[in-house]
């Protein structure tokens, strides 16, 4: 036995950094339509190939092909496109508001719109999502959440529904199946499993959908979630949004090098898919497949969505410091909005004119909502929820010590 070799620490590095382009061959793409679609009652172990390949529906000619192509009416597709456009315009407007200091902080989902929106369309009323801060699409795809209300949360103003307690984007909407967003990464993932277990315990029909980023899968809560979901065959969709970056950290540092995040699911006994997250049709189809499994007591499904964080991590971040400034333009899976639009145009269900008209209408709608929201104040002008309200909801009933402290503050 030789003892002469010196050990070395391996630290993964992205191929691209400012000044040299990323080699995206590490993504290992499959052609559209090439990946098989097993029946929903497939065994977890039999999905090993699906956890390495990439489910795609839209091909380079904008056609929907292969076994995963969903049977969706053109009307539903137009709704999906409109929701993605709305989300993108909303994000752009809120970034501007942040620069104008009307809101303190913002996080956009640029380039990732298809994932939350197509999945929202695949879920049923009553299902519960446990999102991260980047799933605003779950809310913006609905018509029952007023834009003004979202903006008031972002501006922490007098009618902020969560009373200025949380950073912008940390919405809470039980009535819309949207669990209160935590600033602590990964905690919600295992909670989604618990919600699904509760639904099973009660013999209910609702399912849960948990969300996590590639970076946050390194937290213990991610692995614990997989264990519990597998053990109790929890009715839950376990979404891993692999947008390649976690702030400045490349996905290989979260463990993506030479393997996939979907592969972790298979290792834990969970049926798993790796899917093109910028392909609206593939997202919808895979979400339906997973939802059906959950509803039929077939247990959890883990889906890795391959996408790209096209914008900065947050308004506090400058990605040109750690990745090529034009990286997104080279990302091989393109832009989810452009891809769905071209598909709709190709099937004769959409036109450039209509696209422009909808864009204008959405811009006007969002601009008007912003005006209305600003009438209730912004963090900058100090018209925020009262200082007295800070002491509420710590407990159900305010204990004596908090009453005393509130008095001491003189509010």
């Amino acid at each position: 036995m030789s003892r002469s070799e010196h050990l070395r620490l391996h630290v993964p590095e992205p191929s691209g950094r400012p000044g040299h382009a990323t080699d995206f061959s590490y993504l290992h793409l499959s052609p559209a339509g090439a990946v098989r679609r097993p029946p929903v009652n497939t065994a977890a172990a039999a999905t090993a190939d699906l956890a390495r390949s990439l489910v795609r529906v839209l091909d380079d000619d904008d056609k929907a092909i292969g076994p995963w192509a969903p049977q969706l009416e053109a009307d539903a597709l137009r709704r999906g496109l409109r929701a993605m456009m709305k989300t993108r315009i909303f994000d752009a407007r809120m970034l501007l508001a942040q620069r104008q200091k009307k809101i303190s902080f913002y996080m956009q989902c640029l380039g990732e719109e298809a994932i939350a929106i197509a999945q929202a369309m695949a879920l049923e009323p009553g299902d519960m999502c446990f999102p991260t801060y980047r799933q605003q699409g779950l809310l913006l795809s609905r018509d029952d959440i007023p834009l003004v209300e979202l903006m008031c949360q972002l501006m922490s103003n007098e009618i902020d529904p969560i009373k200025g307690r949380q950073l912008p984007v940390m919405y809470s909407y039980k009535r819309a199946g949207f669990f209160s967003v935590s600033g602590n990464l990964a905690t919600q993932f295992v909670q989604a499993v618990g919600w699904g277990m509760a639904s099973a315990i009660k013999g209910d029909t609702k399912i849960a959908s948990g969300w996590i980023g590639d970076g946050a899968t390194a937290e213990a809560d991610f692995h614990t979630a997989l264990t519990f979901a597998h053990v109790y065959r929890a009715p839950v969709i376990l979404n891993v949004v692999n947008n390649q970056w976690a702030i400045s950290t490349f996905q290989a540092i979260a463990g993506g090098e030479g393997t996939t995040f979907a592969g972790r699911g298979v290792g834990c006994g969970i049926a798993s898919l790796r899917v093109d997250g910028n392909d609206f049709l593939a997202v919808y189809a895979a979400s339906r497949w997973a939802a059906e499994r959950a509803r039929k007591n077939l247990g959890p499904t883990l889906i890795e969505w391959v996408t790209y964080r096209a914008g900065a991590h947050s308004t506090s971040d400058d990605p040109s410091k750690y990745r090529p400034a034009d990286d997104y333009s080279r990302f091989p899976l393109g832009d989810p909005i452009a891809r769905l639009k071209q598909h709709l145009v190709a099937i004769g269900a959409w036109s450039d004119d209509e696209h422009e008209r909808v864009e204008k209408a959405l811009e006007a709608e969002i601009g008007a909502a912003m005006k209305e929201a600003e009438r209730h104040g912004t963090l900058a002008d100090g018209r925020v929820p009262s200082a007295a309200s800070m002491f509420e909801d710590v407990y159900k009933d305010m204990p004596e010590h908090l009453r005393r402290q509130r008095q001491q503050l003189g509010v």
Binding site: R8, L9, S104, R165, A216, A218, I247, A254, Y322
Partner: protein
């Protein structure tokens, strides 16, 4: 110029630059020093404290870690057992909870349970405190969760000079050190007047920092401002808030910057309270079970017969740290001044 005088030459530094300089000095002096954490490698940390260190020392000494605070501290305990001196960064103190088991059950007790066979000479850096509109997950001051644990050292600097000297002392120390960095002080001595421009460290004497190696010893408090009428026990941001309160209330307060929270420099505290006969304890963390309670108990035990008035506590309220109501939550100069006045009554 000789090497020694080079090292002692002072340069203006922000607290960020001072912390970076401390790690730079120690990475150069000791091959066993390793720096890692989320985003600390290529990018240099979200607060830029490790900027340039990976380029200088290579990526097996300065590197990015997966987003797992438990993993970061757990691996640091293992590296410590091997003989390294890991200096790890947790991105915010608010995110230390997944690491708490490794800190409390492992790092803090390793020496004790193995009778010194294994030790955990780690330094765990984490930005703490509010004042940046960070909401409940970027504002917390969890120092009491560390001072309560036997075997940990808990340190919190209030200025660039101390930050560098204390960080070097912490890295050299053979015990696990929790190194809390008040992020509101990274760029200047913030005194709680959020509506006024921040004075940069370059305009403050404690922003003059030697370029080379020096230490500020652990377990030593500093009399930040000498005074005769009342002793203020503070640390981190509250040192400058208390200074503003003393000036604005025209009360001649003696402000003690604890620097090391635990184990601490009791002698300096006791000497001051015996001199002034009055004591105000200030911290940003929530009140109940906060470190201020321990300080009040110590002063009571050691100075009871010298006290003219009850010990006052000024703290954050017992609520989560709110986002929009930040300045109603933050114990600013007005609240500290009111406590100084109460302490002066009778």
């Amino acid at each position: 110029m000789s090497h020694a005088s080079d090292a002692l030459r002072k340069t203006p530094m922000t607290m960020i630059e001072a912390l970076r300089s401390a790690m730079d000095v120690m990475l150069a002096r000791d091959d066993n020093v390793i720096v890692y954490g989320q985003d600390v490698g290529y990018f240099g940390g979200v607060f830029r404290c490790t900027e340039g260190l990976q380029a200088k020392y290579g990526n097996s000494r300065v590197f990015d870690a997966p987003i797992s605070e438990g993993g970061i501290v757990g691996t640091a305990v293992g590296m410590g057992a091997y003989g390294l001196r890991p200096v790890v960064e947790l991105q915010f103190a608010d995110y230390m909870y997944p690491a708490y088991d490794q800190i409390v059950s492992e790092a803090a007790r390793l020496r004790y349970r193995s009778v010194g066979d294994f030790t955990a000479p780690l330094t765990i850096r984490m930005p703490c405190g509010g004042g940046i509109y960070g909401g409940q997950t970027h504002s917390q001051s969890p120092e009491a969760l560390f001072t309560h644990v036997a075997g940990l050292r808990t340190v919190m600097p209030s200025n660039p000079y101390d930050a560098k000297g204390l960080l070097i002392a912490s890295i050299e120390n053979d015990d696990p050190v929790i190194f809390l960095e008040p992020k509101r002080l990274y760029n200047g001595p913030f005194d709680g007047h959020h509506d006024k421009p921040l004075v940069p460290w370059s305009k403050h004497p404690m922003g003059e920092v030697p370029e080379g190696y020096y230490t500020v010893p652990l377990e030593s408090a500093a009399v930040y401002r000498a005074g005769a009428q009342v002793t203020v026990l503070a640390y981190g941001t509250m040192v400058f808030v208390s200074e503003a309160a003393a000036l604005e209330s025209s009360i001649d307060a003696e402000i003690i910057d604890l620097r090391s929270l635990w184990p601490l420099d009791l002698d300096t505290i006791v000497a001051s309270v015996k001199k002034t006969g009055r004591c105000v304890v200030v911290h940003e963390a929530t009140r109940t079970g906060g470190f201020g309670g321990e300080l009040a108990a110590l002063v009571q035990e050691h100075c009871f017969y010298h006290l003219e008035t009850p010990i006052e506590r000024v703290t954050g309220w017992d609520t989560p740290y709110p986002h929009a109501q930040e300045w109603a939550y933050f114990p600013g100069p007005a609240r500290v001044a009111a406590a100084l006045r109460r302490a002066m009554e009778a």
